[in-house]
């Protein structure tokens, strides 16, 4: 078999999502053959990512060590509208569409009862405390248009109804069953313009 350090790397790579043992081996051998500096740069990026990123104190999006993401640091953004998304990658998708000038809230997942993911595992408490602070007029629930995303949206609509805030969901034009990430910019833009009141 392989020397222990190589085995350890194969094991670690094999834990990554979508990477099987064969791919892990291929990646490890690729790295083994790379110049020393390339492998070190990768290792450095990993360490730096861990040490230099945090979650934004306001919206739970990924942020640098300052604890504020780019959007929340931007004073030109409209803080009276919050767009709730499942994942930091969805923030990028919505930003790319250019249809939104408010701020975000990242839940870090969606209600997935079949996988045992309930409301407590999502960043809902943080959202509630933002709403409790006041100044928010509208919450746009932009979770993925699938069962988990719908369940999350309806749950939020019930949970947040007490705040008396307008809750909407970009309904029309979003690809049903598709991930938000796969939506093209124009589709997402149209979906934002045509958002509808959300019911629980």
């Amino acid at each position: 078999m392989y020397p222990q350090p190589l085995r350890a790397l194969i094991d670690e790579l094999g834990r990554l999502p979508g990477i099987g043992p064969k791919s892990a081996q291929r990646m490890a051998f690729y790295l083994l053959r790379q110049p020393d500096e390339d492998a070190r740069r990768l290792a450095g990026a990993l360490v730096e990512m861990r040490e230099q990123t945090s979650l934004c104190d306001v919206c739970c999006n990924v942020a640098d060590r300052s604890g504020r993401c780019d959007t929340c640091s931007d004073t030109r953004r409209d803080t009276s509208v919050i767009c709730v998304v499942e994942d930091p990658r969805d923030v990028v998708a919505v930003e790319r569409s250019g249809a939104f000038r408010g701020t975000y809230h990242v839940l870090h997942g969606a209600l997935s009862p079949l996988e045992g993911v309930g409301p407590d595992q999502l960043r809902i408490a943080e959202l509630k405390s933002r709403l409790a602070d006041g100044g928010v007029a509208e919450v746009i629930v932009c979770t993925n248009p699938n069962v988990e995303g719908d369940a999350t949206a309806m749950y939020l609509s019930r949970e947040l109804s007490g705040f008396g805030i307008s809750m909407t969901r970009p309904a029309s034009g979003l690809p049903v069953g598709g991930d938000l990430e796969f939506a093209d910019d124009a589709t997402l833009g149209r979906a934002f313009d045509g958002r509808r009141p959300l019911e629980g």
């Binding site: 979508g18 209600l111 009862p113 079949l114 996988e115 045992g116 993911v117 309930g118 409301p119 699938n146 069962v147 719908d150 369940a151 309806m154 749950y155 609509s157 019930r158 690809p175 049903v176 069953g177 598709g178 991930d179 796969f182 939506a183 093209d184 589709t187 019911e199 629980g200």
Partner: protein, 240 residues
């Protein structure tokens, strides 16, 4: 290439690679099968329709090189769309499909069970208290498994009054002298009897029948112990 067309209910999906989905389907004629739907998560999917948990579909399945079937075509029947637009209905629907998945083995045709699942999901649209439909489905699943609890009298001594406890391992309801397991209220006893011994239609028309939360919890415990599996959806959703 060997293909087969069938009516199916999507019980569960697992993301695979970039845009594929492995679907666990309960089919009317072939029992539970697993099939991969290639590219279905893309907006430009050519399969014809989405494939998601709780979808009622007609599918064209093809045998591939591996054991896994592949989905060639999907046509939505749209029958359970009402389940998707209300939180209580969706929660109950998820409990039903999770239970159906746990209670079935692959490639074992059982049209009666398919019909039971289909009817339960269809009923969610009409019943004022969706969680009661899920509870009834759990009990019906127990009965289908041949594990119907004894509700007419004490499962241990036959005494037909003073029924105060429930223990599935003992067979069902128990009197005060034989009591084991969990205590049950008279409302819960009455509701379980109506669900399993005739009167279900009436129960499903009622808004929050007395004892329903207690009976829901009894049903979840009973099915979990009978199938030897945890019902995650029921646990996650029950807590809220």
């Amino acid at each position: 290439m060997n293909t087969v067309r069938c009516e199916a209910i999507v019980l569960r999906t697992y993301k695979l690679a970039e845009a594929d989905l492995i679907c666990v389907l309960l089919t009317r004629d072939h029992g539970k099968v697993r099939a991969v739907a290639h590219g279905v998560r893309r907006t430009s999917s050519k399969l014809g329709s989405r494939m998601e948990v709780l979808d009622h579909v007609d599918v064209l399945l093809a045998k591939g090189r591996t054991e896994l079937l592949s989905v060639r075509q999907v046509e939505s029947r749209g029958a359970f769309d009402h389940v998707r637009d209300n939180y209580e209905r969706l929660a109950a629907g998820l409990v039903i499909v999770e239970t159906a998945d746990a209670a079935t083995i692959e490639h074992h045709a059982d049209e009666a069970f398919f019909e039971m699942v289909r009817r339960a999901l269809a009923t969610l649209g009409e019943a004022p208290t969706p969680s009661v439909v899920a509870t009834a489905f759990l009990f019906k699943t127990l009965a289908h498994e041949g594990a119907s609890p004894v509700l007419e009298h004490c499962a241990s001594c036959g005494e037909d009054t003073d029924l105060v406890a429930f223990d599935l391992a003992e067979g069902g309801l128990l009197c005060s002298s034989c009591r084991r397991g969990r205590p049950v209220s008279p409302e819960a006893v009455a509701l379980m009897r109506r669900i399993l011994l005739g009167g279900l239609a009436g129960v499903l028309r009622e808004e929050g029948p007395p004892g329903s939360a207690e009976v829901a919890s009894i049903a979840i415990d009973a099915v979990e112990s009978n199938l030897g599996r945890r019902l995650r959806a029921a646990r996650v959703l029950g807590a809220h």
